[in-house]
Symmetry: C2
């Protein structure tokens, strides 16, 4: 059944929407489309495996259920909404939808992080749109915020808490003083973490989102693989005790910044030109000051802080996951495309006037203060050994903290370092980690 | 010099921009337009009084300076940017600009709050756009966030700190324990408050912004005059001491909500329909819990929390004032219009699919807990008098607090009330305020 969309009673062209995927997000999207009873949007198709099992009775009988993508591609749907996830066959289906003259809304961060530019270019070629507001931070409208709301600024830094699972686990370790493994197990029980939590814990989920934010906000192509990602699994409750003594907490921070030099260097750089050809980017657990908005993100919430040359810091926060919040972002994108379609917008020109995209060198070698937490078998001369190696590497110690009353065989203690490059610290740690009194390798976190 | 805009080398139609007003915001806008050297945007005119005095040497010589609006209206400018302020002749000029087939960007909150709908309707009629992102919260992209980013949700509550001057003054009273008058004087010295601070202190500035947010986010027409505004001038440092004992602080809160019933009533109402015909709206000093994002807004920052039926709470925060942040919002609007112009967008259809606007009854009669702070000449029986009146009005006392060591002739003390309607409290206060042992009328703040 093909053909143009019909006009409704007011003469406005109605927009037909096909939903590909009917899981948590998909059914929330369907619910919002029905409940809001927007005359201009019409849900026409739902595709899912095992339709017989998935079919619900609260949707209009006019909705066509199918397991075959060709039914969607040959239909009169104007917008294909992909909330199925995965890289394949999703990418293939989205390409075919665009080629069939349909616009696309997707919540698929991995897909957009990996082949967003190609898909956007294909969409333009076909005079269609592809929107992906739900791919980062769920219901928090940060993609449109960076792309439109802050278009007038020249952003040079984006920091964020982009993974609710990690934030939940870290909050639990902090609040309840439990080990990482316990916190993870409890998060899994409560549905805050997946059975296989690798993508979240190791930072792979967040770095895909960071790659998307870097493209939208900093106008640069970054492959997610080029962004360093470090696990939060080494964080222990003792680290929160130490962090608190430094008026900090620990969060999984996604960070992308042009010219991430020391503050003095940065100020000098800003006077000339705020963007270089090197992008500092990483996803890692880090110490953040308790007064920072990043420190106050609770549970599974998300937060993004964008910093611009003219507007300073702008904060976007809210529910980064969950069916309904993510569906809000999807429906907002559907509405944006519907408005464009009704306006006969010429998509090829959409980005005219946007800054030219860069393809910078990506490095995680931030200049920062550093937190080194050791677990040692106590004996005389340990601090001297560390201090000697650090000083040989040209690194200045800022403070040494040792919690009283710990067992001599597993003695945790802390060294903080003055501002220096992360690579310098890693060099020193290669030597330090081979020292025989270390019970485990040193935990190294930047202090932001 | 009239005529169509020229196309640049890439074939993209350049957009000519005329700037009306060259004060703090205007010169920041000009600076950003020059520094970003966007080939598609061309600053062609600047209008200001006393051009000879205003003229700067850092703008291209091609920019025409004028004191006569007719030079702008008859020019080839595509977009007129109004950053001059005031209701007249601004409104007249904006109407004439739209009628001359020019789109308009304005930062003028009072104008948009008072005649936004008429101007938007005129713009549509002329197939032009009027954008006003800078009219609320300066550089914080909350207008586009509510209008586009959260378009997929059904918002029913907006709370915000929309006036940086009040937030700065209240922060200073809190931090330094100084009286209101001193804090105001210091804010004036530092340029955070105007010589005549009435608009800010009395909440008139914030209620214009709240009326705009209610229109954009809650889709309802609200005249600013219909929103109750109460001064922050009665707040004393003793109130922060009491507030802290209640784990709260005091902020000037702008609040608009459909169905602002008690939580139980609200839950019931939400099950049926989240929007009624009554809008609860007010700008007033209020107690907010220290754990709320509203409590953590420092200095002259702005913050908006939008609550939706599907997405829950979403937060937008940043610099609410200042030349550069406000200019970012203006330039973002210019870019949005430029994109539309390049896309031959049909503005008349822009809002198709938007919820229908309502014209609700506006009331400030929130159901909330309440804070009553008295200053009395001490004598036996005072609490009994208050308690009798409150109980006759059907109001339950939650707690009574009295700071020790205060002079008997000016004894401050506090009564907090259980959840009840504000109007009930005001009734009781009419009786209470006539009691002869009161040194000054009771300070009544809601506890949010």
């Amino acid at each position: 059944m093909t053909g143009p969309s019909k006009r409704d009673a007011t003469g406005t062209q109605a927009c037909n929407v096909a939903l590909v995927g009917f899981g948590t997000v998909g059914s929330s999207v369907a619910k919002i489309l029905c409940e809001r009873s927007n005359a201009h949007l019409r849900l026409t198709h739902i595709l899912n495996r095992n339709v017989a099992r998935k079919k619900v009775d609260w949707l209009p009988s006019s909705v066509q259920w199918t397991e075959n993508i060709d039914d969607v591609l040959s239909s009169n749907a104007d917008i294909v909404v992909e909330v199925m996830g995965g890289l394949q066959p999703t990418e293939d289906w989205i390409r075919r939808a665009l080629q069939s003259g349909k616009s696309v809304v997707t919540a698929n961060k991995q897909l957009i992080a990996h082949c967003g530019p190609e898909l956007i270019s294909l969409a333009r070629q076909m005079n269609q749109q592809i929107e992906f507001g739900a791919s980062v931070a769920g219901g928090v409208p940060v993609i449109s915020g960076l792309h439109e709301g802050l278009a007038g600024d020249e952003l040079f830094k984006i920091r964020g808490i982009l993974n609710g699972t990690c934030n939940y686990i870290l909050s639990q370790i902090e609040t309840n003083g439990i080990p990482f493994a316990t916190a993870l197990r409890e998060a899994q029980k409560l549905g805050f973490a997946e059975a296989d939590p690798t993508e979240d814990i190791e930072g792979l989920d967040a770095r895909a989102k960071l790659a998307i934010l870097a493209r939208v906000g900093l106008h640069c192509h970054v492959r997610p693989e080029s962004i360093m990602a470090r696990s939060i699994s080494a964080i222990d409750s003792i680290d929160f005790e130490y962090a608190n003594q430094l008026h900090c907490t620990i969060r999984q921070i996604s960070w992308a910044e042009f010219n991430a030099q020391s503050k003095t260097e940065l100020k000098a750089a800003l006077k000339e030109e705020s963007k270089g050809d090197t992008l500092f980017a990483a996803v890692q657990p880090a110490l953040v000051e308790l007064s920072s908005p990043l420190a106050r993100v609770e549970g599974s919430q998300n937060l993004v802080v964008a910093t611009g040359r003219y507007g300073g810091e702008t904060v976007f926060g809210g529910h980064g996951a969950g069916g309904n919040p993510t569906a809000v972002a999807v429906v907002s994108d559907i509405l944006a495309i519907a408005r464009s379609k009704q306006s006969a917008i010429t998509i090829t020109m959409k980005d005219a006037g946007q800054p030219i995209e860069k393809t910078p060198t990506v490095t995680a070698d931030f200049t920062a203060k550093h937190y080194l937490r050791f677990l040692v078998k106590d004996r005389p001369g340990i601090i001297a050994s560390f201090a000697t190696i650090l000083s040989q590497c040209g690194i200045n110690i800022d403070s040494v903290l040792q919690k009283p009353g710990c067992p001599k065989s597993h003695l945790p203690f802390l060294i903080t370092l003055e501002e220096c490059k992360a690579s310098l610290v890693e060099q020193a740690l290669q030597q330090i980690n081979s020292l025989d009194f270390l019970v485990q390798p040193c935990l190294h976190l930047p202090i932001l």
